[in-house]
């Protein structure tokens, strides 16, 4: 077909089988889409939707247990499904390149970055070593890395995450392939770095007219980058169209649900707090330093958190927002006493808990409970959900029968079946486990609930449900909540007040509504500016949120 000649990539009726013991038959079923030169096509879907499987099948990197059972993949008209391994190796890098989510593991840690890019040229070109070196340096410059000579001779661990991803992009694009596959390349990066990398991909791609297949779960990124977007649900393509069309006026109910689950960037109107609501948590100049000792002497002092003074009242949610390494988790861990603070005061309902011995601490501990990020690791896989929930209350002398009765009530509160108490964590999905973790925290009847990136590992639709649940619980039980997140959209949805942290310090602290409308500090502004798809108006049915 003449139309296909134009396309860089065309995937037709692709079906990929899963091994027999998987929970569904096909990883991907009957998926068709194409990528034109100079076009960015985004593949969007939640975890398990088969988007990475498609990318790997194009690159010929599918795991042995998976195989293409029907359909075709064509790269510039050449069939890729039955092609020999040698031909595939030739095509990779020369005609198609790929970048991965985690640049640290995708780069060889014991090889200089320049040599890794050079390897591509050695394999696929007949250039002399001087020519190759020049070409690599040019490419490093094109991906806007400072000081190309130094970058050439650096090892991956000497570079930041964003710089490493730039090296990966340089490696993927040095032979000017017609197709670039990007598998969640910005998911592991901070929002400001993500914005830069997205910008870079856009720039190089339009310059070289590369077709890009961009895999992501983030609709903000889609809005920022995509020309067209394909939405996958459990291996099936449910919607394919231009970005504007799909995001503003989604047709399929699943797409509508997904898009309406994307938290809005503007804080909704919230009930103002009662003026006399008691202060549950107040920190005064809280400080945490890490020391590295060498031969008994303090060598390095790292200020993980400095002069943190915040306040949370009953029924209020304080959001702590910042990029990785900003110290937000350190604050959460000091407050929950998982680590000891170096200096400063932490008042919990009036008692200073910063410097306590372990006996006094134990009494106060139950007042502060924490929910962690990773629902797969925060429950002991060898203990039933019920055992995990009643562990805390029984530590404080509650009888087993009472604790179980309370656990059953809590399971209903977090909208899980109380009979699930006898099951093990692996029998629950990620969202359900996070609900169990919430129930475990609530079983202690806390006054302050700390959520440390509690929804970051969840898919967007589940994230929306867990956020709603957290809000309901906070209102019903009149809890104070400390909500740690890197995601501004999430913070906008749930927080009454927000503290923005950078390099261990709070740079801006105030009401969420005001801050999102009119950020004051430069860093806050930069952070807001970098949020992908911030100006895009998402469609979908707003009532379902």
């Amino acid at each position: 077909m003449p139309l296909d000649q134009h396309n860089v990539l065309s995937v037709k009726n692709l079906t990929i089988d899963l091994p027999r013991n998987a929970d569904r038959k096909h990883a991907v079923r009957d998926v068709s889409f194409d990528v034109a030169p100079g076009e960015v096509v985004c593949l969007v879907g939640e975890s398990g939707s088969g988007k990475s499987v498609i990318a790997f099948s194009v690159m010929g990197l599918l795991a042995k247990a998976l195989n293409v059972s029907a359909g075709s993949i064509e790269l510039e008209g050449e069939h890729l499904v039955d092609v020999t391994e040698d031909r595939l190796r030739e095509l990779r890098c020369t005609r198609m390149g790929m970048i991965f989510q985690e640049p640290m593991t995708a780069l060889n840690p014991v090889m200089r970055c320049g040599d890794q890019i050079d390897e591509v040229l050695q394999e696929h070109t007949k250039l002399s070593s001087d020519q190759r070196r020049q070409k690599v340096l040019d490419m490093i410059e094109q991906v806007h890395l400072p000081d190309p000579q130094r970058m050439y001779s650096s090892y991956p661990h000497q570079l930041s995450g964003g710089q490493r991803q730039r090296i990966m992009i340089a490696m993927a694009l040095i032979l000017e392939p017609v197709l670039l596959i990007a598998d969640e390349p910005t998911t592991a990066l901070d929002v400001t770095t993500q914005a830069q990398i997205l910008h870079l991909i856009r720039e190089l791609q339009s310059e070289k007219q590369t077709g890009v297949l961009f895999i992501t779960h983030d609709f903000g990124v889609v809005a920022e980058l995509g020309d067209r977007v394909a939405v996958l649900k459990q291996g099936e393509l449910v919607e394919f169209g231009t970005t504007r069309q799909v995001l503003s006026a989604p047709q399929h109910p699943y797409t509508q649900m997904l898009i309406s689950s994307v938290p809005r960037h503007e804080p909704p109107d919230r009930k103002p707090l009662a003026h006399d609501a008691p202060v549950v948590l107040r920190t005064e100049k809280l400080k945490k330093q890490y020391f590295s000792f060498s031969l008994g002497k303090r060598r390095n002092v790292v200020d993980a958190a400095v002069d943190i003074s915040v306040e949370i009242r009953k029924g209020e949610t304080l959001g702590v927002v910042g990029e990785s390494g900003s110290g937000k988790s350190t604050v959460a861990r000091c407050i929950t006493w998982l680590i000891e603070s170096t200096d400063g005061k932490i008042y919990l309902s009036g008692d200073n808990i910063a410097q306590l011995n372990s006996k006094e601490l134990r009494k106060l501990r139950r007042k502060v409970q924490i929910i962690f990020q990773d629902p797969y690791r925060s429950l002991n896989p060898r203990r039933t959900v019920g055992q995990s929930i009643i562990e805390g209350p029984m530590n404080y002398g509650e009888s087993k029968a009472d604790a179980i009765q309370h656990a059953r009530e809590l399971m209903e509160l977090v909208q899980l079946n109380p009979d699930g108490l006898d099951r093990y964590p692996h029998q629950f999905s990620g969202g359900q486990r996070q609900r169990v973790c919430i129930a475990r925290a609530l079983a202690m009847r806390p006054e302050l609930l700390v959520a440390d990136e509690a929804v970051s590992a969840l898919d967007v639709s589940v994230q929306a449900q867990v956020l709603t649940l957290l809000e309901e619980i906070r209102d019903r039980m009149q809890l104070a909540m400390l909500f740690i997140t890197h995601d501004l959209r999430v913070a906008a949805q749930v927080c009454d007040t927000v503290a923005v942290m950078s390099k261990g310090r709070v740079v801006e602290y105030g009401s969420a509504k005001e801050m999102f409308q009119n950020p004051q500090h430069e860093y806050t502004k930069a952070l807001f500016e970098a949020a992908p798809g911030r100006d895009f108006v998402f469609g979908g049915n707003p009532n379902s949120m």
């Binding site: 929970d23 699943y254 060898r382 203990r383 562990e391 079946n417 999905s429 475990r440 202690m444």
Partner: protein, 323 residues
């Protein structure tokens, strides 16, 4: 390693995570996942190794039924007889009877077959005891060292010191101090083995103590001993079972080496090492008294190591080479 997951979770993506009504549809059915036991039963090295060990272990109770001879009976007339030789013995009533020496006799006329079969007792006991003692002590020290960082620095230096002691030198030292007994031999093998177990346990504990579920237990006020017992200890069991089998194999081997060198179990107790040691002088003329115990020793250690390998693959599939 391919970054693709083999089994895809029942997704969170169902439009309703509205769970009370959708519980059955939402929760993952793991019934198709083979249990550890069925994985064990499908692993050929577990089956072969297990059967061989069962066979060798059955020699312990069965020895008196397999041969009427006493492994320590000296018979000067029948010295150095080749396998298949018919020897004449007296029973309790003084009646003479002939007995075929399946594996020949040694230089004191003792029946090698009886010695090899009775020797299994000592060899297996040493292997088992060393594994149990080393694993128990190592587990205890490893848990403490891994969880309490202050203790760690001190304990691990002591362990480094212990690791530097060669088992054979230690055995010679212990034997010269307190005489050659089974106890000394076991101690000599256990002591250098402990640091290896400690290191293994400690490395697991170091990883587990950072797990969010351990932190969650801390924040719900669980006392430290309970955390160690409930949340940390169970994670060490599977690797320890595997490590235990390897220790058992190497202890049997080491016991044989020590006995062969003459610093092990006293020579009157038949062990595979002792039998070989006594056949050493005449090895070129009468190889049988080294050959047969050697075969039993090799088979036993091979079987134990096969079982260990299989256990590792079945218990911890990530370490298996097949995936």
């Amino acid at each position: 390693m391919s970054p693709i997951r083999y089994s895809i979770r029942a997704s969170d993506t169902d439009m309703s995570d509205n769970i009370i009504s959708e519980e059955s549809a939402e929760s993952v059915d793991y019934s198709h996942q083979p249990s550890v036991w069925s994985r064990l039963m499908r692993n050929p090295s577990v089956i072969i190794g297990g059967l061989l060990i069962a066979l060798i272990v059955s020699l312990v109770p069965a020895a008196p039924f397999l041969t009427p001879l006493d492994p320590t009976d000296i018979s000067p007339r029948n010295r150095n007889k080749v396998p298949g030789f018919e020897t004449i013995h007296k029973d309790d009533q003084g009646n003479r009877y002939t007995q075929v020496a399946h594996m020949g006799t040694d230089k004191l006329g003792r029946d090698v077959f009886a010695r090899v079969i009775y020797g299994a007792r000592v060899s297996l006991m040493v292997g088992l005891l060393v594994a149990v003692i080393a694993v128990s002590i190592g587990l205890f020290i490893g848990l403490i060292a891994g969880y309490f960082r202050l203790v760690d620095a001190v304990v691990m230096r002591v362990m480094d010191g212990l690791m530097a002691i060669p088992a054979i030198l230690l055995a010679i030292a212990l034997v010269s101090l307190s005489g050659a007994t089974l106890f000394t031999v076991i101690m000599a093998i256990v002591i250098p083995e402990i640091p290896r177990v400690v290191r293994l346990v400690r490395s697991i504990v170091l990883a587990i103590r950072e797990e969010p579920y351990v932190e969650a237990a801390i924040s719900v006020g669980t006392p430290t001993p309970k955390i160690l017992y409930r949340h940390v200890l169970p994670n060490t069991i599977a690797p320890l079972i595997v490590q235990g089998t390897f220790i058992c194999g190497s202890a049997i081997l080491l016991e044989a080496i020590l006995s062969f060198l003459g610093v092990g179990v006293p020579p009157e107790i038949p062990t595979w090492g002792n039998i070989m040691a006594q056949g050493r002088d005449l090895f070129q003329i009468y190889p049988h008294s080294i050959f047969y115990p050697g075969i039993f020793l090799t088979l036993t250690v091979l079987a134990i190591n096969m079982l260990g390998d299989g256990l590792r693959d079945a218990i911890d599939p990530r370490m298996s080479k097949e995936i």
